[in-house]
Amino acid sequence: MQTTNIFSFHGGIHPPENKAQSLTLPLGHPSLPKELILPLSQHIGQSSRPLVSQGEQVLKGQAIAINNGFLSSFLHAPTSGSITAIEERVIAHPSGLSDLCIVIEPDGDDNWTERKPLNDWRRISKTDVLSYLAEMGIVGMGGAGFPTQVKLQGAHKHPLTHFIINAAECEPYITADDMLIREKTEQLVLGIEVLQHLVEADQVIIGIEDNKPQAIAALNNALAQHNSTIQVAVVPTKYPSGGEKQLIQLLTGKEVPSGQHPADIGILCQNVGTCVAVHDAIYLGQPLITRFTTLTGDALKAPQNVEVLLGTPVKHLLDYAQATHKKISRLVMGGPMMGFTLNSIDAPIVKTSNCILAASKKELPAPAPEQACIRCGMCEQVCPASLLPQQLLWFSKSQEFEKAEHYNLFDCIECGACSYVCPSSIPLVQYYRHTKSSIREAREAAVKSDLAKQRFEARKARQEAEAAEKEAKRLARQKASAQKTEGKSTATEAKKATPPAAETKTAILDESKKLKVDIALAKNKLKKLQKQLVEAQENEHVEEINHLQLQVTEQEKILTSLEQQLEKMATTPAEKSTKAAPAPVNEELKKAKIDVALIGAKLKKAQKQLAESPDDKELKANVSELEKGLVQAQSLLDRLTPSTAAQKADMLQKASSKPTVNDDLKKAKIDLAIAKAAVKKVEKALKKAEELKAPEADTLRQQLLEAQQRVDSLEKALSNPQTQSPMTEATESNASTDESAAKNEQIKKQKIASAMAKAAINKLKKRLAAEPDQAESIQQEIAAAEKRQQEADALLAQLTQSQDTM
């Protein structure tokens, strides 16, 4: 066994240990309680989904709830019995609220379900072992209860240099891990070996405080017997050496970079309880249904450690430890430094409950009244994160959130050392929690308003585009109606029939386009949310995770409903437009275009990330993949574009028997309309003049004559080609409506693109004002966006022109 270097961390305190009380009695095994209450959410992340229903019989170890998403775990029946209810009960949570729980009434037989140990864990794939552990409901039993398999998966990001087993147990009063090591040394070592097999770290170190000589001796003994390479590092007793970051610093001298994970610097931490649970799952096939918990405090006559079934109500344990209920003034779950108070003794033990501290008034007196901060700096001397607690307090009180963040408020691990030493009895941690949550709320609100703004801008762009399109259509209709009235005498039935059909088709197209935009937006939002969620999960921001998860699910729902709508929509026009072959091609074209755009966007993002962290292999691979995808999509697009162009040309040729005539015809019609209007005007003026017996009447009469002559001649000219080719005209107009619809569509798209580019430019400009030190990159982005907009505008102009000439 090698010895490891022990480093040190800044600050720390030495509160009275109070550990002896609970170590005088041997490990206790409380009797079965009358009922077991198993909250569906035992830890951070989503709550599990129940697999059983009321009245059902369950066996010990049977899964009664299944994981529900990424950060969730299985739950098993701690004993055999029947499910009496699935209802809201008071749970052990800082909020003191109730939550959905599965309530089991034990039948007293303690019948096991069939246990299937995973004896061949060395041979089967690691992923299978991980999923087996997930099915066994293994979570981190030290802190927040992070599902173990998630943590192990996260550890694969980088090669691990250190695998640290946290046995420091620095909180006063708690001795559960100490007892666990003494009682289950063998299992602990085997469990560590399984985990080491899964993560393959260079070094495995058990970090333990020097106030547990018996546990250390037991460990050394067992390790010697196993000829194990696992090292035991004895660290000096100092709170909070058991904090993950502090233990890492103690054992490796490295610091976990702010906002990152131990896994990012190649370190994985696991609690001893977790290792034993892993052993029980792999070797015995037992899911996580019991845990070691310390029962201590002056209000208990028999303080001790117990191995307790999950779901046991605290009251049952208090009675077991002979509590004098009147003496309990504060009931803390966890230790005195970081634990939280329970306001009901009915709350059950969960997977993360390591201690029940039933304190008398004398033991944990009510906090002294808060005095003014005298800036004595005692808090700063003890802060393990090297923060300036007194400054953070100042900013928290004055609500200067930006400054508080600048002073690294979010690196505070809420260990409470500062509050402990503060001579003015200031509840510093409480201030920090409040400020942190205020900042988080503000951030969330900012994100929300940002999204709302984006949505609003997109909608505005869409509406503008639609309005423009409508206007164009109206004009077209005017022209068409002018045509129709003119050509009524010669018009055929077919002509009447086609326009409405075309109209419905365009309407449907419109709808579906709108839907598609919606979907794209929704997808975008979903992706953003998912990214945020992953980030939050990586950073273990508990509150955010829940919140984001909700948002994600909702967004997913919206998206599916939209997609369904689109599908419905897509089928209807497909039937109708079978004869209009270009539609599907168009569709594909559009899809290809969207693909190109999407991949391009992704590529850009990845490239940016890559620029930030140039040696990230994963990113690089990602980028090259995206680039490939982009090329593919582009080629598809290219292939599609000429084909549609060809089709269009085809169509034009078919219809172009008299394109010029058609053109002239239109012009003539318009001229005619103008001339007629002129006639009317002159007639009116003439009438007036006659009434007034004005001298202008003569000249007016002359004018009228001329105008009428023009009308006549025009009409003649018009009737000429019409009579010549009524049929061609019909088909032609049909084709041209098709054509113009396609064009319209493109125009609309371009308009949207241009509007979006404009919005992007605006946003970037705003950002530029806000963050002048990133000016260059933003400037570049602006230039790019402007180019995009110009391109879109140019295309738009081209399209409108071509439409006009049609």
Partner: protein, 352 residues
């Protein structure tokens, strides 16, 4: 059984409240006060008594005007501490109204008007001291001399001290003499060696009485260090910078400059370094900041003593550095766990 619901942590270090901190600082001045009384008579003790009564009355008056709990705030002993520090700093024979003015100004204007304990940017005791030093320079520069050197040849009796403070003692001049710093300042063109030979206040007995006083305050300061009420940073920075700068000038011009030893053992050097500069409210927060802050005070003390208009420079040195403390704080933030660099400066930038 009503269960208490509060957030963690649930315990507190027993006994070490703010009042305890203040009380310990007051108690740590006892060796110094004792030596001062032994050398200069009852004056210091009478000063402290007057100052304490004035401080408590002013604090109570302002607190009741501000509608704060009088008892709660009076028992944090911060006003008492200010009074004791001022009582020590003022000359033992100073008329009572000087003390009252200084203390009342310190408590009412320098402390309570800024919002009370913890919110005052300037060291109250030193503000009070500076005010009376500027307003009443004559009584402020009369120090009682060592008994075997003054013309009366004895120490002031209790009744004489009371007379000097509350009424008027015609023979006061026979008990007072210039302090060594004062004497050295007014040696004019004399060389150092000649000055130490010829000027009375620079004679051995007077020098050693100030050496005793400074040693006593050093002892008190060490007690505070052991109790971890203050950290070593500020006093060490003050004293070492004072020693270094006086050493440099002594090396350059040994004929006219005084030795570092002289500077460290006369005047309020130790008292200032351990009891005034370490006032937590008005000094810097981080350890590095305290080093910068203390160094500044040490340099200013030397500058004022050597080239300024007043014989000692602790009060003005501390007040000037109080001005600079917030700025120093911005540039001396500690490096937080998990960050590559410490943050610096006033601008709020992206994380590093």
């Amino acid at each position: 059984m009503a269960l208490l619901r509060i957030t963690s942590p649930h315990t507190q270090r027993a006994g070490r409240r703010t009042s305890w901190v203040m009380l310990m600082v007051i108690l740590a001045t006892i060796p110094g006060i004792a030596v001062q009384s032994w050398l200069f008579g009852w004056g210091t003790l009478i000063n402290i008594a007057i100052a304490a009564i004035t401080a408590l009355l002013s604090e109570a008056a302002v607190l009741s005007m501000r509608r704060r709990s009088v008892v709660f705030f009076l028992t944090d002993y911060s006003a008492l501490l200010t009074a004791v520090l001022l009582g020590i700093a003022l000359p033992p024979s100073v008329p009572w109204w000087v003390t009252v003015t200084a203390v009342a100004f310190a408590v009412i204007f320098a402390k309570q008007l800024y919002g009370g304990l913890g919110n005052n940017p300037f060291n109250p005791a030193m503000v009070g001291y500076a005010i009376v030093l500027v307003s009443f320079p004559v009584p402020m520069t009369q120090w009682v001399g060592a008994s075997d050197m003054v013309s009366s040849g004895s120490m002031m009796s209790l009744s004489q001290s009371l007379q000097a403070i509350f009424h008027h003692l015609p023979s006061i001049d026979s008990y007072t003499m210039a302090t060594p710093l004062d004497g050295f300042k007014h040696k004019d063109s004399l060389s150092s060696a000649a000055a130490f030979n010829s000027i009375v206040s620079l004679k051995g007995a007077n020098l050693s009485s100030w050496l005793f006083i400074n040693s006593a305050y050093l002892l008190g300061g060490l007690i505070l260090l052991v109790l971890r009420i203050i950290t070593w940073h500020t006093p060490v920075a003050v004293l070492s910078s004072l020693a270094v700068i006086s050493g440099v000038f002594y090396l350059i011009d040994p004929n006219h400059a005084a030795t570092p030893w002289f500077h460290l053992t006369t005047g309020a050097a130790m008292f200032g370094a351990f009891f005034i500069a370490t006032d937590p409210v008005t000094s810097c927060t981080s350890n590095r900041g305290k080093l910068v802050y203390g160094t500044g005070i040490g340099i200013l003390i030397y500058v004022i003593r050597t080239w300024g208009g007043y014989p000692d420079g602790v009060a003005f040195g501390v007040l000037l550095m109080n001005f600079a403390a917030p700025l120093i704080d911005y540039y001396t933030q500690p490096r937080t766990y998990g960050h590559k660099k410490a943050k610096k400066g006033l601008t709020i930038k992206e994380d590093n």
